[in-house]
């Protein structure tokens, strides 16, 4: 019933796509390759993207959502929804799990929401909290195997004992030239492939790359499919810390 967690997810979700840009690192073993992939994700001081998310659910009308997301470091995130009209102007600031703030223009006030829940999709999309929040694989998983397929390799990741991530095992197909995940398969406790995420059509600025399209298919919800399309991407602009304050959230811009 309570959807405040969705607000949190909204921000995480929006920012999740940002954590994808790499300096290319050479690697050989499973652990090294996992470290290289993680290095590509956290390699920028800040970045801003504009994305459109399209969700298709069997029997339901297609849904579109456009947002601008800015990330600084690995903790500060800010999202502004641009469309549709229902959510236009809504801004979300995440400084930590219990430091999330939302500004709803319809209410003309800032609301603090501290959320400790993680389940179900964001705004009807196929993404869940855990997948969105999974910025760096190595904090949650350890690599147990690697299979080389030439241009790509497949990492098998097992959840660390002290982690509560929803899925105990992941298979990550990695493009060797970019050290970028191109497909992530999420396996549930029963060993069933519950979801599949694909990242494609990479665009680069210098050594930094990001996928133009990210798609998630939830196999357990009638193949519910969400696709994020990159509209704009800016990196290392020197975004000031003041953007990540309640005052800036309230004022907008």
């Amino acid at each position: 019933m309570i959807r405040s967690k969705d607000v949190f997810r909204a921000t995480l979700f929006a920012c999740g796509g940002l954590l994808l840009s790499p300096p290319v690192v050479a690697a050989t073993s499973a652990d090294e390759e996992l470290a290289a992939v993680d290095a590509t994700i956290g390699g920028m001081s800040d970045q801003t993207v504009v994305m459109e998310m399209v969700t298709n659910e069997p029997g339901k009308a297609e849904r579109r959502l456009t947002f601008e997301a800015t990330v600084k470091g690995t903790a500060w995130r800010r999202v502004e929804f641009l469309a549709p009209a229902d959510v236009k102007g809504t801004r979300v600031l995440v400084l930590g799990v219990d430091q999330m703030y939302i500004y709803l223009p319809a209410y003309r006030k800032v609301r603090r929401i501290a959320t400790h829940v993680k389940e179900q999709g964001f705004m009807g999309s196929a993404w869940d909290h855990d997948e969105i929040a999974l910025a760096v694989f190595g904090k949650v998983f350890r690599a147990t195997a690697v299979a080389d397929h030439g241009a790509t390799l497949t990492l098998t990741l097992e959840r660390k004992a002290d982690q509560a991530f929803l899925y105990p095992r992941l298979e990550v197909d990695v493009r060797k030239d970019l050290h970028q995940p191109i497909e992530i398969r999420y396996f549930n406790d029963a060993g069933v492939n519950a979801k599949t995420e694909t990242r494609s059509d990479f665009t680069c600025q210098g050594k930094l790359c990001t996928p133009r399209a990210v798609e998630m298919v939830d196999h357990s919800r009638g193949e519910l499919k969400s696709r994020m399309l990159l509209k704009d991407w800016q990196v290392n602009r020197g975004v000031p810390d003041s953007l990540f304050t309640v005052r800036a959230l309230q004022r907008g811009g």
């Binding site: 019933m1 309570i2 959807r3 405040s4 967690k5 969705d6 607000v7 909204a10 029997g59 339901k60 009308a61 009209a85 229902d86 959510v87 809504t90 219990d98 430091q99 703030y101 939302i102 709803l104 319809a106 209410y107 003309r108 006030k109 800032v110 609301r111 603090r112 929401i113 501290a114 959320t115 400790h116 829940v117 389940e119 179900q120 999709g121 705004m123 009807g124 549930n188 406790d189 029963a190 069933v192 519950a194 196999h219 357990s220 919800r221 009638g222 304050t245 309640v246 005052r247 959230l249 309230q250 004022r251």
Partner: protein
């Protein structure tokens, strides 16, 4: 008949007939293996019925309305071991893919205000498993204080929990029900589990019916065969007949497969019907053949048998076929298919009895020495003669029985509910009782409101209807979009109520989860559902509740949205008191007057304190030391709820430290604008609440219930604020009660209609055939009379014993008319007084000649159908028991009513050739159903 007889007499033609028939039968049997099974219970919903159409449309619009409820009995639902298994089961259920939404204690969200830092903290209700008894008690206290959880997910006595699963659109009920049962049973192998809700009930009904049919059909067929064998003591002849009947069934099934017709649980009962009724035709002809063959050579015997019995067989067969065809007038598709193909099967059985049976008998040169068994014939002969002799008295008695039956049948209950499909003590009945005891029941009705559900006025209308429904006896709970929106508003804006503007509602919808939202409102926000939990699943108890809900819906539709805020609040207060088990004796009108009374005098100190709290929270954009916050709060409170930013900025700037930059005042004014207005509104609402609670004589919030009631009433009172009541026009709305109970009501109307249509159609068609067969409308009526009498008795008994007319039992009338009228045909076809004899003599001779056959057939059909009563499936028990009783009654009624009403000394059947006396004597011994008299009755 002549042409047919000559054809059969030709050996080559007989060989050809046998070969072609067997070939067709084998090919059909092969084709029948491709017959597909349908387990779609929705096929049984009558097409064209308005209530059903509306329910179907509702299900389509909202994806699904199928709710599966699992009840788990436990001594301690808050023990870590139990909760862990509940979490596992809930997670596993969510992963099934066939469920839209799964809700249990394990995944319910919760939120609490954070007065210090501001805003709310959201967590899972069970955020961690209790580590010890203290933790467990704390969790119990927390959970049992959540009104939305108690009675829905955990029983008020804490001894049961429920898992609620909403099925995805188009999910196969039986498969999903089995999946849920597997998951939950694995997690709770030692607990007592209850499976409630339509998916489980439908599955139970389907499975037990299918199981019983699979198990009992062979026994029913065996019973028919045994009776045939014992009665006629002719294994070869009976085998020929059974092969013919089997071939007719194979051909029917093959035809169905070729036409793409899918098999279902009703059609699964067809073999019993065809065996019981269809085998009689072949026996009839074969017996005549044996009788004639005693003194004539085989070919002549065969042709004469066809001549003599052909018209009677065709007449009997056609009456049954047209009776079954009357199902085509029903609006339940599987019954129409049953009527069509059971009719085809009977037609084929009839056809093979006049072609395949004599042909094979001729080729095999079967011969049978009839045994002597005349006791039954003699007894029936005495009965029919007695009936004819006491026509007046018997006629009066039968008329009285008919009148009594008709009177009792007016008590016949055609209401449909889940109870029509299972017995007391069955798993669904136990589950319903469990859910009723712990969770208020498992039956849901819906009220659908069409209109723009982004408009707050329409949401308040939804809430008003729900509040009124919640107060109705027989309603144990309501849930609706207004509650979900209010909860979301509490999280995102701090007030647990429907917001003031459509823009606010829209943004809340955007942040609410689809599984929750989809239960209550369509994606285009044009339709909303109120879920109403009913205490009973019995039609008789549900009917008055539905009537009152209809009245509420009509009244709300007439009143419209947004016309009476104080009236809405009055209903809200009554519903809240009801929810918290508090007694408020005031009427809605009285409450409205109390609510409207007086000008609020909010507590300024409370407002100032709340402002200070806000200024010190993280939601305030400008960090203020305590002293500065106190100054600002004091200054702001003097403004009242005037929240123009310019005035606020000036006031704030004057109370801030002079060292602060001007932007601080501007940002602070922006921050405080909305909270200031809301704080005053809450203070006024609290004043109204206190006045009302005091006037109603409710105690101060000393108990949890009163405290939560008071908090909820405060939120309700906020709707009286100018902004809230002015916002949102009264958009046009349409309101209608819907749901399974309403559909059952429609189904009930459909059953009644179907019964009338099929009864009239089959009676009229049979009458036509009979009139044509005997060339007399009066004789047609005479032949129909025993069946009508039988039906009056059966329906009267159903009325007296409370056996309901439902989809299954509504098949009875046509079946009884079709099969039962055969008895009168046989009796009348044998009706011939000896020279100089009276009508009583004719009755005696007809009774002797046709009676044993009629009785044997009645016993045979009764035995076949009564086997169906031995299972667990209530629909089969009803149809089996009633058909069995009906056929015996029909036979008895034939022996009494026909002699009592027949005035002639003989009745001629179209196209029949009379048997000679010698034929008759032999035939009676072998097959008493033949048309000849057993022996001349002594002349009186």
């Amino acid at each position: 008949m002549d042409l047919l007889a000559r054809l059969i007499a030709n050996r080559a033609a007989a060989v050809w007939i046998v070969v072609v028939t067997v070939g067709l039968g084998v090919a059909s049997a092969f084709q029948a293996t491709r017959l597909q099974q349908s387990d779609d219970l929705l096929e049984f919903l009558p097409r064209g019925n308005l209530a059903v159409a509306k329910f179907t449309e509702l299900s389509r619009r909202f994806g699904t309305t199928e709710i599966a409820l699992v009840g788990i009995e436990t001594d301690d639902p808050f023990a870590a071991s139990f909760l862990k298994r509940l979490q596992q089961a809930t997670e596993e259920l969510k992963g099934l893919g066939s469920l839209n939404h799964v809700l249990s204690l394990a995944n319910t969200g919760d939120f609490t205000p954070d007065p210090g830092r501001g805003g709310v903290v959201t967590t899972a209700l069970v955020d961690r498993l209790p580590a010890n008894a203290v933790d467990e008690q704390a969790l119990r206290t927390k959970v049992m204080s959540r009104d939305q959880v108690v009675g829905n997910l955990v029983a008020a006595d804490g001894r049961a929990v429920a898992i609620v699963a909403m099925l995805a659109a188009g999910a196969p009920l039986r498969a999903v029900a089995a999946q849920i049962q597997a998951v939950v049973t694995k997690a709770f192998p030692t607990e007592t589990l209850y499976w409630a809700g339509d998916p489980f009930v439908s599955t139970y009904v389907f499975n037990t019916t299918q199981h019983d049919l699979l198990l009992l059909t062979p026994w029913a067929v065996l019973a028919v065969i045994l009776i045939l064998m014992v009665t006629f003591r002719d294994p070869v002849g009976i085998s020929i007949v059974l092969v013919a009947t089997t071939l007719s069934i194979a051909m029917t099934l093959g035809l169905m497969a070729a036409l793409g017709v899918r098999f279902n649980i009703v059609l699964a009962g067809m073999p019993v019907v065809l065996f019981a009724i269809g085998s009689a035709y072949g026996v009839h002809l074969l017996a005549r053949y044996y009788a004639l063959n005693e003194r004539l050579e085989p070919t002549t015997s065969l042709t004469q048998a066809i001549h003599q019995t052909g018209p009677v067989i065709i007449g009997s067969g056609l009456t049954t076929v047209v009776s079954l065809a009357s199902y085509l007038g029903m609006d339940v598709h599987p019954l129409r298919i049953f009527g069509l193909f059971a009719g085809v099967g009977i037609f084929l059985a009839m056809g093979l009895s006049l072609t395949f049976v004599p042909a094979l008998a001729s080729l095999l040169k079967v011969h049978h020495h009839p045994s002597s068994s005349t006791a039954v014939a003699a007894a029936i002969g005495r009965l029919t003669r007695g009936a004819a002799r006491h026509r007046l008295g018997l006629g009066a008695a039968l008329a009285l029985v008919a009148v009594l039956g008709a009177a009792a049948s007016t008590r016949l209950d055609s209401s449909v509910d889940a109870g029509a499909f299972f017995n007391a003590g069955s798993p669904p009945a136990l589950a319903e009782a469990f859910m009723r005891a712990h969770f208020g029941g498992s039956q849901f009705a819906f009220i659908e409101i069409s209109g723009d559900m982004r408009e707050p006025a329409n949401l308040r209308l939804v809430r008003r209807i729900a509040d009124r429904a919640a107060l109705e006896p027989g309603v144990t709970g309501v849930s609706h979009i207004g509650q979900a929106v209010a909860t979301a508003n509490a999280v995102l804006a701090g007030q647990a109520r429907i917001p003031e503007t459509a823009a606010q509602v829209s943004v809340l919808y955007s942040f609410m989860g689809d599984p929750v939202l989809d239960q209550f409102v369509t994606r285009d926000h044009a339709h909303s559902l109120i879920h109403i939990r009913l205490a009973s699943d019995r039609a008789a108890e549900v009917a008055p509740v539905l009537a009152r809900l209809d009245a509420i819906a009509s009244e709300a539709g007439a009143t419209g949205a947004g016309s009476n805020p104080a009236g809405d609040v009055a209903w809200r207060v009554l519903a809240l008191a009801h929810q918290h088990h508090l007694t408020v004796s005031a009427s809605p009108e009285r409450l409205q007057a109390l609510i409207d009374h007086g000008t609020p005098r909010p507590d300024v100190a409370v407002v100032e304190a709340e402002l200070r709290r806000f200024l010190g929270s993280e939601e305030n954009a400008v960090v203020l030391p305590d002293a500065e916050a106190a100054r600002v709060a004091s200054a702001l409170v003097t403004l009242g709820d005037r929240t123009a930013v310019a005035e606020l900025t000036t006031t704030v700037a004057a109370s801030l430290s002079p060292t602060r930059p001007p932007s601080d005042a501007e940002d602070l004014a922006l921050s405080v604008s909305t909270p200031l207005r809301e704080t005053w509104a809450v203070a006024r609402a609290a004043w109204r609440r206190d006045q009302l609670v005091s006037t109603l004589g409710l105690a101060a919030p000393a108990t949890d219930a009163v405290g939560r009631f008071a908090a909820d009433v405060t939120q309700a009172m906020l709707d009286l604020e100018d902004g809230a009541t002015a916002a949102g026009g009264a958009a046009p709305v349409a309101i209608a009660v819907n749901g399974l109970p309403v559909m059952h009501r429609g189904l009930s109307q459909s059953v009644s209609r179907n019964q009338i249509v099929s009864l009239i159609a089959s009676a009229a068609l049979v009458l036509l055939i009979m009139a044509a067969l005997f060339r007399s409308l009066w004789v047609g009526l005479l032949a129909l009379t025993p069946t009508v009498l039988t039906l009056l008795c059966v329906y009267g008994a159903m009325g007296v014993f409370g056996i309901r007319l439902d989809v299954g039992t509504s098949m009875l009338a046509s079946l009884v008319i079709g099969a039962g009228v055969d008895y009168a045909i046989h009796l009348l076809a044998s009706w011939r007084a000896p020279p100089g004899g009276s009508a009583a003599d004719a009755a005696h001779d007809a009774g002797c000649a046709a009676g044993p056959g009629v009785w044997t057939n009645a016993v045979m059909v009764a035995a076949g159908f009564s086997v169906l009563t031995l299972g667990d499936a209530k629909p089969l028990q009803n149809i089996g028991g009633l058909t069995a009783a009906s056929m015996l009654l029909a036979a008895l009624a034939t022996f009494l009513a026909v002699p009592a009403l027949a005035g002639r000394r003989r009745y001629e059947i179209l196209g029949a050739t009379r048997a000679t006396a010698a034929d008759s004597a032999a035939a009676v011994v072998l097959d008493p159903r033949t048309t000849a008299a057993h022996k001349p009755a002594p002349r009186k």
